[in-house]
Amino acid sequence: MTNEKPLLSMKGIQKDFLGNRVLEDINLDLAQGEILGLVGENGAGKTTLMNILFGMPVIQQTGGYKGTIALDGEEVRFSNPNAALMAGIGMVHQEFFLIPDFSATENIFLNREVTRYSLLVEIFGDRLRTLDKAAMNERVVQVIKELGVNINPDTLVSEMPVSYKQFTEIAREIDRAKIKILVVDEPTAVLTETEAEALLAVLKRLAAKGVGIIFISHRLHEILNICDRIVVLRDGKLIKDISSGQSDVKSIASWMVGHEIGDFAFHHTENHRKTENFLSIDHLKVLMPGEAVKDLCLQVHEGEILGIGGLAGQGKLGIANGIMGLFPAEGSVTLKGKSLKLNSPLDAFRAGMAFISEDRRGIGLLLTQSIGLNIAFPLMQVKGGLLKKIAGLFTWEDKKKIREITSSYIERLDIKCTGPDQSVMELSGGNQQKVCVAKVLALSPQILFASEPTRGIDIGAKHLVLSVLREINEKEGTTIIMTSSELGELRSICDRIAIVNEGKIAGILPAEAPVEDFGLLMLGE
């Protein structure tokens, strides 16, 4: 690097959460126009480091941090996010920072609305200026176009598919006028490869304009693709700070976990009970914005792992969301000859189906509650609910049992936490995702819809989660319908893979089929 002052320089950063040290002596520089890749296992401390930079309230509330941060050579210490914003730092949070009941435009322009003069301003001050919706919508359309997606500015965030939420959040940050540093915390985890590429291109363009970017991702090829420099964290310590030309996926992965990792491959066993007409989906239509299912028919065999793939926006995510009643659906779904009531999540659950949502960030995790309660909650609601038992009234024995179950899942999925009683809010993003998986597994469902089950989970733990899915499929006979934007992931675990195109099934292939065949199906040929 040149000897001019770096844009951002963090020195000796240390952070404890109630005696639990999660960051230790981190030194990090960022130059103008540089893209820095920040990688590390789940719970390594990436998000925490960025929260410190951005002045997030959670840092103050847990006792602040040690060390210094300098911006353009001047020491700063942000006490709230607004101060960081004012200083020109933007952050795309790992957990969505959006208002669900607001439209895309309203979220993108939150507290920096385009306004018009009104007479009452003279008396009551500038907050009585009226909003200029048209001007804002126009700008939003522009920004969103730049990102290469097609979001209607008036769509409510709560009605958006998860990738749109992500784009909305990104649009908000890149639209800021005087942004100097942009932090993006796992923005691509919810995106398909094509969407991610569009986003990476935008980031590159921003960097070319001189914005310093810190990019966090578990997809290491993305990191290698766009970053100038890579910083690896492990257990709160800075392990490696290296230019991206000098590294490859394998070595980064081994720096992250501290040892070599091999390739993942599952041995396909052929002992599945292949009952025909187990779950049949006929002429399903789902009104899910951006992921509409148009007229889809699909037969699922008992005991198989069926993969669903396809390009973004073609409707692959709509299938599970429609059947589970999250988005309005029409058509017929029959389970073992019995017709299922659509648009009723409760009925879906009671029919023995469960769902790992791709929208982990909106996931009904009871954030302030313990891991144990989160895992036990659906179990009590669905199963105990039938027995007319009230959630708040457990006996001592139940509590013990919850801890037992929880501990077993913590071990099985390697959830990084202080124990079953830690609140979910305090977990890192990837570990929250693992709690989501555990919560659904605890239900022992007959059919499991798993949409992007490994989202935000690091490269090492991914294998673990997939093998747990495989295990319940083999041992308990659970039928799994797994949706993923990574074809490789689908091919490593599924028996058959259905490709969705334009809201319909374009074709179903065995997992061993050549990659090119899948590609052709995705393109609708």
């Binding site: 309230p57 208002i99 907050r127 009226t130 648009n343 996931i363 009904g364 009871l366």
Partner: protein, 364 residues
């Protein structure tokens, strides 16, 4: 996230007004009251109470629930009225001066209430109820001890015989219905107080306009998600205080309009039930602690008062005793509150259960 076109969804979300409408459909013929009479009553009561109920809309927008603290505004309006009566004012000027006097008092009380509610985030409703109680004590102290001793009261007729403290009730001969009668038209033998409705309409328009301003947008943001609003740099606490101040102000004006319609002040009672009744009316109109629209206000006032007028007669005809009818009226009006709160609680539970299982939106 429910299907938008589902009839069941529409029924569930309007369950409360529908239940009351059905009840009314049964009770109106039962009461034997004539339709023109009822219509006349309803118009008069809409003019009287709409503004008070309207005052509840803004705090709901800001996510602060149903503002039981609106009674503070009613108290402010009443203090203005008492002073105006003492000074011997009458006619429209009296109302305007009472409003002018009530304004700073309301702003002060609203600030106080908002400040305390900021200390009790998430428990606004119960806290505002308690503040209402507590301030009622202060109000009584002010009128019962300070007025006539510290605060000069010139008109001895207003004072208790001991020489200080305001009497229990006072007539407003020169103020009675001045607003209602100033501009009114007769339709089918009914006087329609055009000006009063115009005032109400102006406030409705103000609220609608307010929602299109920056501060209105900030309030919505704060109401929907405090953490995100704060993160975006919106001054959350200030915004919440403003919402309460606006509510208190509208309640103050609403009380003045309502008192001129009634033509008497029950010094120590008029404001007391305003909070409960307004909130009950709003709930009956289909609002919730999270969502209230202007339509809810009018539907609510109409249905609530319809029940109020009809139920004693219906009770009398049903049970055959006027006194029992009277009990019936009290029973029904409080029953309305209990039922609508129960219905809301049920609806909320239903939604929450679905939501959690759906693994969706658990963050809010």
């Amino acid at each position: 996230m429910k299907p938008k076109y589902s009839l069941k969804g529409a029924l569930i979300s309007n369950l409360v007004p529908i239940v009351f409408l059905m009840f009314a459909a049964f009770a109106v013929p039962m009461s034997g009251l004539s339709i023109p009479y009822l219509l006349h009553e309803m118009i008069s009561r809409l003019a009287r109470d709409s503004l008070l109920v309207l005052s509840l809309v803004i705090p709901v927008l800001a996510g602060m629930g149903l503002n039981f603290g609106m009674v503070l505004g009613a108290m402010a309006g009443q203090i203005g009225m008492v002073l105006v009566v003492d000074w011997g004012l009458g006619g429209m000027p009296a109302l305007l001066v009472a409003a002018l006097l009530g304004t700073p008092i309301s702003i002060g009380l609203g600030y106080f209430c908002g400040y305390i509610l900021n200390l009790a985030k998430g428990r606004e409703m119960v806290t505002s109820y308690i503040i209402g109680f507590f301030m009622n004590g202060a109000y009584q102290f002010l009128l019962l001890y300070c007025m006539g001793s510290i605060i000069p009261i010139t008109n001895p007729e207003l004072l208790l015989s001991r020489g200080y403290g305001i009497r229990n009730s006072m007539d407003l001969p020169n103020i009675r219905q001045v607003l209602d009668r100033l501009v009114s038209v007769e339709v089918f033998g009914m006087d329609i107080p055009i000006l009063t409705f115009a005032v109400i309409a102006v406030f409705c328009l103000l609220i609608v306009w307010f929602k299109t301003t920056k501060i209105g947008q900030d309030m919505r943001a704060v109401g929907r998600n405090r953490a995100v609003a704060n993160g975006a740099g919106i001054p959350v606490e200030k915004t919440r205080i403003l919402a309460i101040i606006i509510s208190t102000l509208i309640a103050c004006y609403g009380q003045i309009v309502s008192l001129q319609n009634l033509g008497t002040i029950n010094t120590y009672n008029s404001h007391e039930q305003v909070g409960i009744f307004s909130i009950a009316a709003l709930l009956v109109g289909g609002a919730t602690a999270e969502n209230a629209s202007i339509a809810n206000v009018f539907v609510g006032v109409f249905l609530f008062h319809l029940m109020f007028v009809v139920s004693p007669m219906a009770g009398k005809n049903l049970i055959g005793d006027a006194q029992l009818g009277e009990y019936f009226r009290v029973f029904v009006s409080y029953g309305i509150i209990a039922v609508s709160l129960l219905l809301h609680a049920w609806k909320k539970r239903h939604e929450m259960l679905e939501r959690r299982l759906l693994e969706n939106d658990g963050k809010e």
